[in-house]
């Protein structure tokens, strides 16, 4: 069973890297939010993996808390996106950049 331990961690790292690349590359805010979900999920996988192989419970407890945080983040983020859409702007992160100027 412990032979799968590196497998779980490497899958978690690959998912995190794909999610991070997606956040940096994509311009659609909805897809960027989904990539953030992907990164949170990969963190969950690493937490539960370590909890299982160190025989502790903290990883599972904090995986639950990460799921709650992800849900709140999606709710607020999607409300922001609909607000931007209703103000007549195009949903393109390259065009929504006046805060960085």
């Amino acid at each position: 069973m412990s032979g799968l331990f590196p497998g779980f961690l490497i899958l978690s790292a690959a998912m995190f890297a794909i999610g991070a690349a997606g956040v940096l590359v994509r311009r659609n805010p909805l897809v960027v939010f989904m990539c953030i979900e992907l990164m949170l999920n990969s963190a969950n996988l690493a937490l539960v993996t370590y909890a299982r192989y160190t025989h502790t419970m903290a990883g599972q407890v904090f995986a639950l808390i990460v799921i709650a945080v992800a849900a709140s983040e999606v709710v607020v983020g999607l409300a922001l996106i609909t607000g931007v859409y209703r103000s007549g702007r195009r949903l393109d992160l390259d065009e929504l950049s006046e805060m960085s100027e």
Binding site: I10, G22, M34, L45, A63, A71
Partner: protein, 177 residues
Amino acid sequence: MSVVFGLAAVIAFLGALGVVLSERTIYSAMSLVLNMVALAVLFLLLDAQFIAAVQIIVYAGAVMVLFVFIIALLSPGAEERLRSVELRLLLGGVGAVAFTLLIGRLTLNGITVGAHGRLHGALGPFSPVAVNAHGQVQTLGDQLFTTYLLPFEVTSLLLLVAAVGAVYLSRRRRQLV
């Protein structure tokens, strides 16, 4: 067991790739659902039954339904041509592969695993056998409401703040910001 792991890992990986590489937003969302269901299978393999159930109910259920609603609502303005971001995709892919190789090398060299394939330090009291004897959900609940009570309460406060914030942001205003 390793067959199930391999299958679920490949599906999760392909789902993750699909989120980033799909041109249409709804395909990204469906890939993310695929990824989350595969992750729930992996959680079952890791003896985390409750997390697997919550993953299906909260993520694949609630969160993705919200995403699909918003995509259906906004999709006319949310198209994106991937060809115009080809260079960025290439750079992002190189970065992602480099990061994965780095973590993989650290893992296989024993940095994260520990010497002789064992983790550093003593193992905790929650071995899979002990947890299953007491009940997986019971053990998690005991821990959540005793040792980790403060993070749990702070999380409930966070959910309240998020609900109030979402109502505030999405209410109808006369003058849009």
